[in-house]
Amino acid sequence: MSTVVKVPLRYRIPWKKIVLYVLAVVFALYLVLPFYWIVAMSFMHEVDAISVPPHWIPVHPTLENYLGFIHPSEAQQLVGGRAIDETPYSLRNSLIVATSTAILNLALATFAAYSFSRLKFRGSQVLLMLYLLTRMVPGIAIIIPFYLLMRTFGLLDTYLALILSYTTFALPITIWILKDFFRSVPRELEEAARVDRCGWFRTMWSVFLPVAAPGLVAAAVFAFMTAWNEFMFALFLTSTRAAKTIPVVAANFATDFNTQFTVMAAAGVLAVVPPLALALLFQRKLVQGMAAGSVKG
């Protein structure tokens, strides 16, 4: 004989979930709101932007802040030592410097990381730690030697000065990123390529690097962002529109006498577009587990 025990169904409030979702929303707002505010402000008139209480949605939306970069009004020109004039140039400079840094970094880091991931040699661990140690030194501490070095070589106010500086910042981290990624690429893939009649270079080009592509993209994006966002070195090492980058120029909108928040916001939005596009473009590559399926799953 068996008896059926009925368990009363009771609705339980999923507190854990609720707390989790609330925290997630708060955190998302914390991240997104400043960005939203800068976008919203870039479409406002200066008067609306600084009104209290603030207008979260532009009441009189305008494009004049953006058009100012092409044909600045006289009032706009007065602010920040021709910052508005320099913005398009600085965007171009930033793009060139960041892209070059990313490429140079990738080229150097790929060789270094491959060696660290595949070869056993004395002192490899010490060397790796040493690379990281260079990143422990605050930028401000080394900016004077950098400045003097660049001046000696006649590189002040050139792209090369920035590219070389940024490469030294990004390289240790990119080597670390790639080293770990390369280690996850099965060695058998290279061996299979060797058996399939590939020499070392061909193995790298046709098999290893395509498989390691997500890691390479992550490293390149990291180097690009490092160069794109850097402010202090650009401020010290550049002085004219020939090499000034967007963070330096954007900062010029705020002066001792006046600050044009809306134009500054528009410059900020423009500055965000390239890295954002880059992240979206490579998003799939970044998260793709390319190695899945190559070896036993």
Partner: protein, 363 residues
Amino acid sequence: MAEVRLEGITKSFGGKTVVNDLNLTIEDQEFLTLVGPSGCGKSTTLRMICGLERASEGNIFFDGKPVSWLPANKRDVAMVFQSYALYPHKTVRQNIGFALKMMRVPKATIEEQVLQAARTLDIEDLLDRKPRELSGGQRQRVALGRAIVRDAGAYLLDEPLSNLDAQLRVLMRAEIKRLHVDVARTFIYVTHDQVEAMTMSDRIAVMRDGVIQQCATPGEIYERPANRFVASFMGSPPMNFVTGELADVDGVRTFRSGALSQELGRYDVSPDDPAVVLGVRPEDVTLSPTPVAGYQPGKVFVSEPLGPDVLVTVRIDGELLKARVPVPFRLGHDSTVYVGFNQNRLHLFRASDDTALHAPQRV
């Protein structure tokens, strides 16, 4: 097509010798299997033949030409890896045709040969897929396809079935054996699975601690194992061993161990040291519920039905022996049973060094 010859091959990794003075000739078009437990040096040997490892000492010859110093891409070999090592970013078609592309074979010929290989392996409809979209068995076929599309002198297979489930393994075993017949090339196969070795090979080289213990046909390995290791490694369930000594009882050569006494019949051997190990395969053990002359009494320890027959473990005088007997077997645990050995199929090994004393031949 190639004859592969290894002469005095030794490989050490940081002072540890994993392959020791190995001499072996693999005939052209032969299917040779290197078999042994993990870490016995079989994969390392294969990798040296392939050119992925360089031998510390010794020479490797393909058709009499030394190749020891040639890298893998300069040797005329194709290899199937245990992990398959398919290129994840390439389609099946590109995976199979990659080596041909590297050899600058015209595109049309590549396409034709890839199709032919795919047809042989029955993977034509998978050609445009990426490896991650394939099942284990399909990946395994692609890995095979990548090898057979090549007109290589030797095909090296490193445990290619170890990642497949049991059913598929049996299927692919037969297919690889058939493939060997079809492509008529030298196959060197590495496995730790003695069933694969027994079923597929022309010859088997049993390895242990970097040394070949015996290299012979599957039949000979099974019937005349060179030593106790080979005897125990080849065969499932493994051979029973009983340590004892030889004695003459009433003028008859007899093996004795405690209460166990077994006439050796025609195996009249007289080693210097009477301490020996008797080996009997489970299928050569017979059981009887009633006393039989020459049979030893024992107790049923456990019985495991295998389908067509039953694996019975019997305890005799503290020793556990396995017997493979036909169904039905009705005796329960701890029942008394009488155990006899097939006198024509006994194996004797020296207790001192485990070498075979007199490998019996099937009569």
